[in-house]
């Protein structure tokens, strides 16, 4: 018998899927935080990137900003929000992997981690689609979020602008991966541990 979308006949339990999703989101955030730190240490001291003008393409998504908001939101909405944030990073991650290869003094570790984050984010998306398919069979919104309108500046822009644009992308990745990790941990404790992790 085939393991159906809603989870019947499946050897892999939904709780097990969720544990792996949390492990993967933690790993993606760890890599993202390391990338930001490596880049910040290399470039920020000399470039003084203006943090007040940094903007994330996912800012338009109405994601919970504190514990109460996150706990009030129904789990299917929170799951769908996680999906939208994840999907919105498809193109920016591809851009990040190609862009970092053009940044002369970028530490090698950043390219390796960017490739790893890009791959693991796709893995996480695959897992989340399975989880949502089981928890809310009819609910998997498939449309790709076009929140990211491509690199804000052309390839011919001066080096400082391109470095700032990359810095902004790393900052947003660190932030959004932290959000996803946080929401998934909350959902795991709510759905599978009766809020008693």
């Amino acid at each position: 018998p085939i393991c159906a979308r809603d989870g019947t006949n499946c050897l892999m339990t939904t709780g097990e899927l969720f544990d792996r999703a949390v492990g993967l989101s933690h790993y993606i955030h760890t890599l993202s935080a390391e990338m930001f730190k490596d880049f910040d240490e290399q470039f920020a001291p000399s470039r003084r990137f203006p943090k007040s003008v940094m903007r994330c393409h996912t800012a338009l998504l109405n994601t919970p900003e504190d514990k109460e908001q996150a706990q009030k939101i129904q789990h299917e909405h929170l799951l769908n929000l996680v999906m939208r944030v994840l999907r919105s990073w498809n193109d920016p991650l591809l851009h990040m992997v190609s862009e970092v290869q053009g940044i002369r003094e970028a530490p090698d570790t950043i390219l390796l981690k960017a490739v790893q984050v890009e791959e693991q984010t796709k893995q996480l998306l695959e897992g989340m689609e399975q989880i949502i398919g089981r928890i809310h069979p009819g609910d998997v919104e498939n449309e790709l979020d076009s929140l990211w309108s491509g690199p804000p500046i052309s390839n011919s822009a001066d080096e400082n602008s391109r470095l700032f644009e990359f810095y902004n992308l790393l900052h947003c990745l660190r932030r959004d991966s932290h959000k996803i990790d946080n929401y998934l941990n909350l959902l795991k404790c709510r759905l599978f541990h009766d809020n008693n992790c």
Binding site: H26, A33, E65, K67, R175, N196, C197
Partner: protein, 210 residues
Amino acid sequence: DQIKCRSYEKETFSCWWTPWTDDVLPTNYSLFYRKETDENAYECPDYRTSGPNSCFFDKKYTSIWIYYFIYIKATNALGTNVSEDYPMDVQNIVQTHPPINITLTVDKDKPNLLINWLPPQTADVKSGWVTLQYELEIKSEKDHDWDPNSRHIRGVHKQLFLKLVGLMPGDTYVVRVRCKPDNGPLWSEWSDEMYITMPGNVPTIQKDFT
């Protein structure tokens, strides 16, 4: 580093500032902040809760994943001086209280030690809002310094323990534990130090290994 901020549980946070060193005249300090999502600047909501030269942001004023731009105004007879913006995201300033209830138990007939602890009560671990990672250090009471090599990290979640083996019978050991958010950079302070003397004065170890 004139301004320092800290959140103990990712639900509220406080900021502290150090007064300008050359305060000849009586100077009044006030803290202002702007949020990434808002043009306006606001004054500190609570100058008292976190002690002198501090500002406390309770839940209503705390948003995660949003940049705060915090600055200090120092006003005296000569005029007003404004500090640089201090950009801060609560995500990156979470530094919990240390673990609690550290208990040490000797493995009766072996030179091994079982160490248990619990997460700090202020961090909401149960709902999953905070997930913690732990680090433990041990040293012989005779040693002055903690041996960084002796540092052991345990995984996350739930009440945790670590089994240390091969300790010296008759020796007194000191143990301490600290923790940090699984997805954050800042370790808590170390917990209180717990002492234990391993039983047995005659070394029976030799027998165990042959």
